[in-house]
Symmetry: D2
Subunit: 329 residues, 4 copies
């Protein structure tokens, strides 16, 4: 039985807590949060105790940390956890600053602990199937990849200001997905952004609409398109095209009902946001983290994957600012 400490009792923390409760072989032992009320409510619900993060990390009865606190605390908690020999599952990103993220990763690697990043989309059943089919050679050699990722509505500008910008906050998921599906490292990024959704986002120095074009060493091409607004739900789609065909994951909907009337055939909008669309993925990624703890083969992103995705986000940001393609080493 693996005993977990959860650091962060916010929206994502609560999802992880519920998923952990349903997993055989794992126990939520304690919950930490700067919001004491949130921590104790969650702890009570799942029969855990409340603890300070430092104490939780030091606690020898704890095997694993689930870090779902604010981004600026990730690196510190990872380093502390690594020092205490804990296995660590951390929400992305390691840190918004690439150098800081690299130092943190080096600490974890020296400590030899398991460190996995929460790139939940790798566990979406549709995207996971695309990866499996590519790997099985079902479309032959992959040539181009197209990733569409649109949020239903923009976050508050206050959030935008602390987010590191669209490329590091939002497109970073797509960079991880691109690396995971392309089977090769992108060596160059070209990105363009615009502000069509909310002028306040532009005033805060960010974009709300962006596209990127990645090129790998062998010439594979990946297009990514992002928007902070989408009228028809949380638009999450992927197309992988190769010599023998194409794999295409369309949006998920709440039901399979079609309403036919005088204006046409209508199916439901896409699921509203990540909690609905990636409910299965959150559950499966935690189960796979347990597999990792047992030394089994898993698909989770490692700390190093997190660093690579962040490097691509940085390159995209620089490309957007300079108007030039940016090489990624």
């Amino acid at each position: 039985m693996h005993r977990f400490a959860l650091i962060g009792a916010g929206r994502i923390g609560r999802i992880h807590a519920a998923n952990l409760a349903a997993l055989p072989g794992a126990t939520l032992a304690c919950v930490a949060d700067t919001d004491a009320a949130a921590a104790s409510a969650l702890a009570e619900k799942f029969g855990a105790r409340v603890a300070e993060p430092v104490a939780a990390i030091a606690d020898e009865s704890i095997d694993a940390l689930l870090i779902a606190s604010s981004t600026d605390t990730h690196a510190t908690f990872i380093e502390a956890g690594a020092g205490a020999g804990k296995a660590i599952f951390c929400e992305k990103p390691l840190d918004l600053d690439l150098a800081r993220a690299a130092r943190c990763l080096a600490v974890a690697e020296r400590a030899g602990v398991v460190l996995r990043l929460g790139f939940n989309r790798r566990y979406d059943p549709s995207f996971a199937r695309i990866r499996a089919e590519i790997t099985a050679g079902r479309i032959g050699a992959l040539a181009t990849l197209s990733i569409t990722s649109r949020d239903p509505s923009p976050p508050p500008v206050e959030y935008i200001r602390r987010s590191g910008g669209l490329f590091r906050d939002m497109m970073i998921h797509d960079f991880d997905m691109a690396r995971w599906l392309l089977g090769e490292e992108p060596v160059q990024v070209y990105a363009r952004g615009a502000c069509f959704v909310d002028a306040a986002i532009g005033a805060a120095g960010d974009v709300d609409t962006a596209v990127a074009l990645l090129t790998t060493g062998s010439g594979r091409l990946c297009q990514i398109t992002n928007s902070r607004r989408c009228a028809f739900g949380y638009d999450q789609r992927i197309e992988a095209f190769g010599e023998l065909g194409m794999l295409r994951a369309d949006n998920a909907t709440a039901t399979r009902v079609e309403h036919a009337h005088a204006d046409g055939f209508v199916t439901e909008p896409a699921l509203p946001f990540f909690l609905e669309r990636y409910a299965d993925a959150y559950r499966l990624e935690l189960a796979d983290f347990l597999t990792a703890l047992s030394g089994g083969a898993e698909q989770l992103a490692t700390g190093r994957d997190g660093l690579r995705a962040l490097a691509l986000a940085d390159a995209a940001q620089r490309s957007h600012e300079s108007g030039q393609p940016v090489a990624v080493s």
Copy 2:
């Protein structure tokens, strides 16, 4: 070059005239209609001359008759054409009265002329593909068949009164389709009708909504559903289910555009009515009639097929009236 006389310059006659004009190996030589203006307009458009039906049928330079006049004239024109040795393509049905239809067919058979009925749906590319796949064994032994056929809106009650009723006027197409796809003769019909669309149809002694259940000799089961009203266009679908799978033909639409918005994903309504949905079918059935004239293999309904479909329609009408299943010999 086969020279045709067209009898009937109404809606269907005009379609046949245009299709004939585009067919190599066929010429529209003359047009006959009780509406002289309609006949001469159509004749002029396609370089044909106007003729009385009797004269057209007697004309030795004419090889083939295209009968698209009102239903009550079909049997008479077929018999006259058969007497003159013409090949005959006639819109369905032979006649609304089964005995009259049988006599007419006997005349044509004794004369040894080619007689084909315009069950145009056999030429719909989707339905024809279902037939081809069944025949090729792609779903193994066929077990059940389901046919959906709904008109966009009811015809005038005046038409209903002369139509022979829904089973003979509308469901007769589905009876032909059922026979064609089942690969066996139905031996029993059970039918139920109701009046949900227009009370005047009920007052005229007919129904506007109906279902039928056919059973073949080996026990295959076919469900048919009809409505004289359909909010989303001309609903024309078929499902054939067998031991190895299912073939399903969905409705055709004018474009493949999907509009995603806050209420969902919307595609266009079904094509509005038979002129649009079966445009290809009308073209292909006439081409196949030319094949028949050359002695080639074709899929057209014969006079005998027309008689069988009418017998099923009669049985359905009797079943609806009696509330009992009716055997078909």
Copy 3:
């Protein structure tokens, strides 16, 4: 907190136990099964104790019974539970014998206990949405209904022999769905069956392929088609057609991935069977039973609904045997 006794630790019992465990406000207190090993394994997993059914029903600390034992025990356990004043959730059917079911229902009604039947499909999100949309008038007055229900492969003949036959064992779900969606009672049933899947099923006196046609008092028409075999998974679809349009629920699939290759565009087969297709439905129906226990409005089938569905199944069986439509009072 409602304390439950689960009677029956088989496949369905285990599903209910897991769903109960995740429901706030409910506790699985004890498990009974004639297979002691199954009972104790399940009890241990969810922290319950093992009990004899009689003892469990008599136990004053138990509020509610979850009956998932073999069909022939349902009526006895319901009557015992009613005598002990327990709320009862019972898998369908009440009993295979209509008179026995009616007596059992009368006992429960006299006792005034909550009695709900597990017609799980009412909780399928797609079917529930069809019902909600019909009720909201989205397709206007309902005219016809079409229900398709096909199992992936036939059960053992041994099961068939004890099942009461396809109409009572399998189509009973569709009869409940028909009543629930039609908004009126069927007054007549016509049914036809055949044996296309397994000759041994025919030898056991049953059919493996069947269709039924229901007529309601106002003339609404409902077609049902069943098969004990389906090559492409568990085929569960509904179409409701009315004056303003149609609602159509298509099959659910494990992912939304489409594979395009030289032979076409391929999506996955339907989910394999009821455990996968109705996973959500099983969870939601139990939550709604809790709502019922609190006196809230729910959609569960009552004992009386169970009796009506059984009466329709009996009528269908008689119709199949006699070849005649059968009136249902």
Copy 4:
């Protein structure tokens, strides 16, 4: 009645001839081709005479030229036709050389003749509907556009060598479509190409796989992806995304039949190539050219549109070669 001379009796010329024959108000008067046999076969079929191009252009009885000859002859024939005061419909491009194309266009403009380019995709019913819906404001302000265009298999390398390269030969259609749908001029192009399909194409100095990213003055972003090979047919799709939703045109198929079997639900591949996919478009564009001759409003690409598309293709080629984004004036 407009009298046409067709210059070029190859594959596209034959399509135009047949479409012209079916158009009221137009007559194919003469056919010219360097291949005399091809010219006379086509002339005979449609009752036209054979002529030398120079004579046809000089012929005072001819109103309009239909230029479907090899690309390197377009500019010369346009200039000659303009000199003779003919209305001109010319297959794209004006010329592979931008300066030459510009001179030719200037000649036509000075002469004041109607000059239209055959960007047939503007007449595809699905793409035309996307344009109409954007224009009608159905998705609000357009933000991003995505165009997918893949040929089923590469042309002979011999063709590649004379083609001007993928960007001028193939992606030029997408550049026209982008301009037409974006409603603004692209001001910058970034393009990347690769050779995944046929090494001989690379040896000939061209690419067979390419993506481009266009940016308009207001910041709208357009992604284009091309491949000279596509296993599942002629892949022609567009997605337009805006503040209120998305318009998406999927591929067309020959039928609407779905085959369900143990491996899933299978629909047909995309239509094989442009003759099938754009059959309607070829017909409609010629009808619209007749509208243009009568001074009516049409959607045809003008000579100036042709020049703009060519300028974008040139920019894409330079971007691909330099690795840098290229501004377009």
